[in-house]
């Protein structure tokens, strides 16, 4: 298989240790990266200790001539995270895209369609199959990873699992685990940019710890201070009810009260519809959308996580709502984390628990899996290491930077302990906690808690542009001030027409791939015509089965309905089944060997591909008559060699009178043996050359004035052949049983021969026995005894219907014949009529 580029393989191999074997390579590969197309890549499949890896090499020349022409670009271990696939190129018949996916990394290569590519692909697929059976260890790759650039190294190192694309090969093989639906989803996601366009939606996110107060004042100054109405509202509260009832039974009239105020407080220039309202004890979250967007909201789901008392009560924790807006997944999380200045680690833990335990029914996604996540709430992080007075002084001096540096959330986030990957807008508003009720004055109570930015809004995901981040001082009923953030968020909006087209296109493609991935082979000829087919002169014709498909093709010749074998007994097919790899071929020999009396041979063979189509192969040929296979009765009615007569004349001859008492051919053979063979050792046991037998056949069938050709042993073997193949055996089939039963008694045997065997057959039988008796007179010279001859001729004179299997009841037949070799036969001879 590697022979194509043996020289290049050697050069590539030189890049590796000798135990790391280059199994297969592919030259002239272009690596596709977006719109870029980098030529001069070589793909190499390398095996070490039953583990495989795919190397992408940069080659300085189209065909590298030395090891210095090559450098390693990327290494991809072939394990369960690895998959490969191909995709047709729109306007190219001769190239295809070969896609390697490893976790979230996807590499595409343009390669030419041909033997090289299909060989390479099948090697890769095979190695992938091997790898999925064991858990490969890839320490040997470490040394190569060092030679790659950093970016690539990361990509092969990702710990996060992404959807594994399913290789088309599996679909075609109808593997039960294949989920066409998930394949379709995956493909649709890949092509999302083609059927969606980005639209900016205004998202308003608000959070307020209301300190157990009932609503009394309009929320307009918080929820609708902007000129234009937002498209989406997410409004979160904490501590809407601090009563024991709310805590123990999670039931409070405040939910409806606050929600009513929210609905009254939203922007008057638009109508809103609630997507979901969710509450856990005092934490409440409502998501609303402008009514016109509501039809585009789907997959709404929510959950709550309590992290409070006993680590599970709802006095602390989070509530979340997820939804899909058009084609973008959104998640809003409202939380209330552990209180007290020194408890920042507890808060970090609460955050982690919320993430881990938030479990949206009807959606497999976790919080972090959403394209956009908005995190709001009373996160409760405080300002550390500064006294209340210091904070107030710094605030008065507007030294925000110093203060924010002392903010625990900023500190913990920076250390990667919480809200990693989340972004927060710059804080320009004063701390939102803790105020004296109905005032803008920071806590004047005994405790005089230092002010803090407990109430925060952060986000994570692509396409979120923050517009505003502020607190709302007008609302004074709580010891916290409400906070809000306004975003312009990019929502991917589906163009239904384009989506339908692409969806249909993908379905079509999948059907097409499925059909493409059916095994495909071509055969070079479907009609095999043999030259004149002659008795026992085999002819071989070869057909070439070429795998032109993308998957290994398993072929087998199968039998037709109501037939017992996949071919007639005059044909042998070698091999009659097998497996051919893509791009490879298999020669199949069809050997015809005629051993019976046929005018012509004809059959339709069915070549079946497992999981695919069937092909018909017609085999035919004219046959030449031979005295060896026609009936002895016919031979006794013609006075010249069989081939001197036309087929019509032979049919006519069946009605002629008997001209001979034994066939001419038998007489000629025995006469020759009588004259020249009586003293020959091993006369009947040395096998003659095939050509000698053919010559004798032709001498008999065509007739000749020349003496009989070949050795005396060839004549003896021809006699045995003649007696074995003649249409009806010398002793008719129906008498075999009686003969075997009579074998112990000569008179009984004689009785059968005289009264039950037809005249012609009796003549032949006695004629042969008389010759053998004569032959036995020379035992001293030829070394034969009666027993040996009897067992040799028993199986032939009483041959079975099935010539190809082991003779039945050989001993009985030999005993029967023995009688006629050792007894006087003169009384058995019936004079010819």
């Amino acid at each position: 298989m590697l022979a194509v580029h043996r020289d290049v393989v050697n050069i590539v191999q030189a890049k590796f240790l000798s135990a790391e074997v280059v199994k297969s390579i592919h030259l002239n590969v272009s690596s596709l990266d977006g719109n870029w197309c980098d030529e001069g890549r070589i793909l190499a499949l390398v095996e070490y200790n039953k583990t495989f890896a795919l190397f992408i090499l940069i080659s300085a020349k189209p065909k590298p001539v030395s090891i210095s022409d090559l450098s390693i670009e990327t290494v991809i271990p072939i394990d369960r995270n690895f998959s490969c696939d191909t995709e047709p190129i729109e306007d190219s018949q001769c190239h295809i895209i070969f896609i390697i996916t490893y976790k979230k990394t996807k590499l595409s290569f343009k390669i030419e369609i041909g033997v090289e590519s299909s060989n390479f692909a099948s090697e890769v697929i095979r190695s992938k199959e091997v790898s999925s059976h064991n858990s490969p260890v890839f320490v040997w790759l470490d040394k190569y990873l060092g030679t790659m650039n950093q970016q690539n190294r990361n990509s092969s190192d990702l710990t996060e699992q992404s959807d594994l694309p399913i290789t088309r090969q599996h679909i075609a093989q109808g593997q039960t685990a294949i989920n066409r639906e998930s394949m379709l989803k995956y493909q649709l996601k890949l092509r999302e940019p083609e059927y969606t366009q980005i639209q900016e939606f205004t998202v308003f996110v608000g959070t307020w710890n209301v300190n157990g107060q009932a609503p009394t004042v309009s929320l307009r100054s918080w929820l609708s201070t902007d000129d234009d109405p937002p498209d989406v509202y997410a409004v979160g509260f904490q501590e809407i009810d601090l009563s024991k009832e709310a805590f123990l039974f999670n039931d409070t009239p405040r939910e409806a009260e606050w929600n009513k105020y929210v609905l009254d407080g939203v922007h008057p220039k638009a109508k809103y519809r609630c997507v979901a309202l969710i509450r856990l004890v005092g934490m409440q979250l409502a998501v609303m959308v402008n009514t016109q967007h509501y039809p585009h909201v789907s997959n709404i789901s929510y959950d709550t996580v309590g992290t409070g008392l006993l680590g599970k009560m709802g006095n602390k924790g989070g509530v979340a709502i997820r939804l899909q807006l058009h084609n973008t997944s959104l998640c809003f999380v409202n939380c209330h984390l552990a209180a007290h200045v020194e408890e920042f680690e507890r808060r970090n833990q609460d955050y982690k628990d919320i993430n881990a335990r938030m479990n949206f029914r009807r959606s497999p996604l976790a919080i972090k899996d959403h394209e956009q996540v908005y995190w709001l709430g009373d996160l409760n992080y405080r300002i550390t290491d500064l006294t209340t007075t210091q904070v107030k002084t710094l605030l008065a001096r507007n030294e925000m930077t110093t203060l924010l540096r002392a903010d625990q959330l900023n500190q913990q986030k920076e250390r990667g302990n919480v809200l990693l990957d989340y972004t927060e807008a710059d804080i320009t508003f004063p701390p939102t906690y803790k105020y004296d009720l109905n005032s803008d004055t920071f806590d004047t109570s005994e405790k005089a808690r230092p002010p803090a930015w407990t109430d925060r809004i952060l986000w994570r995901g692509k396409g979120i542009h923050h517009v505003a981040y502020r607190s709302h001082m007008d609302l004074k009923i709580s010891d916290h001030k409400p906070v809000s953030a306004l975003f312009k968020s990019e929502i991917s909006v589906v163009d239904q027409n384009r989506y339908r087209k692409i969806h249909e296109d993908l379905l079509k493609k999948m059907d097409k791939h499925e059909n493409e991935y059916l095994p495909q082979v071509t055969i070079d000829q479907t009609e095999i015509i043999y030259d004149l087919v002659k008795f026992r002169e085999p002819q071989t014709k070869e057909i070439i089965i070429a795998n032109t498909g993308m998957v290994p093709a398993e072929f087998e010749f199968i039998k037709k309905l109501e037939e017992t074998s996949y071919c007639k007994d005059w044909l042998r097919i070698i091999p009659y089944c097998g497996s051919i790899n893509p791009g490879e071929k298999c020669d199949v020999k069809l050997i015809v060997n005629l051993e019976s009396d046929l005018d012509r041979i004809y059959d339709i063979l069915i070549l079946h591909l497992k999981g695919g189509k069937d092909m018909f192969i017609t085999v035919s040929g004219e046959c030449q008559k031979s005295s060896f296979t026609v009936s002895m009765s016919l031979l006794c009615r013609i006075n010249m060699p069989i081939l001197r007569l036309s087929k019509e004349e032979l049919i006519q001859a069946e009605k002629n009178n008997l001209l001979y008492s034994v066939p001419r051919e038998i007489w000629l053979l025995i006469d020759h043996l009588y004259r020249h063979g009586l003293k020959t050792r091993e006369l009947f046991e040395s096998s003659a050359l095939h050509e000698e037998l053919i010559k004798i056949r032709d001498w008999l069938d065509h007739g000749s004035l020349d003496p009989i050709p070949g050795s005396i042993q060839a004549t003896a073997e021809s006699l045995l052949l003649f007696l074995s193949y003649t249409k009806d055996p010398v002793i008719p089939f129906n008498l075999h049983e009686a003969c075997i039963a009579a074998a112990t008694n000569f008179q009984n045997c004689r009785q059968i021969i005289v009264t039950r065997v037809p005249d012609l057959h009796r003549n032949v039988f006695l004629y042969i026995c008389l010759f053998l008796q004569e032959f036995l007179k020379y035992s001293n010279d030829n070394g034969y005894d009666a027993k040996t001859l009897a067992s040799l001729f028993g199986d032939i004179l009483l041959r079975d219907v099935d010539r190809n299997s082991k003779p039945q009841a050989s001993r009985g037949k030999a005993n029967f014949v023995y009688n006629f070799l050792v007894n006087d036969l003169s009384s058995s001879i019936v004079p010819p009529k």
Binding site: T176, N515, T526, F557, Y576, D614, F616
Partner: protein, 217 residues
Amino acid sequence: MSAGPYNYSYIFKYIIIGDMGVGKSCLLHQFTEKKFMADCPHTIGVEFGTRIIEVSGQKIKLQIWDTAGQERFRAVTRSYYRGAAGALMVYDITRRSTYNHLSSWLTDTRNLTNPSTVIFLIGNKCDLEGQRDVTYEEASKFAEENGLMFVEASAKTGDNVEEAFLETAKKIYQSIQDGRLDLNAAESGVQHKPSQPGGRPGTAAGGDQPGRDNCAC
């Protein structure tokens, strides 16, 4: 019944039959690939195609066998009828002889399939109106008399191709709903779940092995 872990609930086996050259392979190709294959090689054997369609919200996989039309293969292709849920019987509207042979194809179909097999008559090449040799009316009458569904179609333009395949599936699906088609019968031509294409001679259920083991090889 739900699709379960599979992506389709049923497999329907179809056969396409009719004289050589009427466009059977082109019809199959048009249906599976939505393309006209003008230089389609003669089918020497039985080609195989598949497509998933939807009927009444159910996903159905069609397994389509396109047979060789030559008279000399007739004896062999007969063995592929067994277990077909649908038979598309095709003639060429521009060649009368192909229409005249329909009764012989129909006899085979009736003899070799079961009574619930849906037979759909397709008059192909209706794009060649100018060379028409068989009128719509008479073929339609023939179909009616024999209880066949019927359309004129063109594998070239794609006209009515989709319809013929889908209508056949709808009718089969109806038979299942009505209980007229016994899914448990081995030869209903409908399977509940995916499997390798089967029902060919020699590989048919029952596990019969090739008759002769050619141990010489």
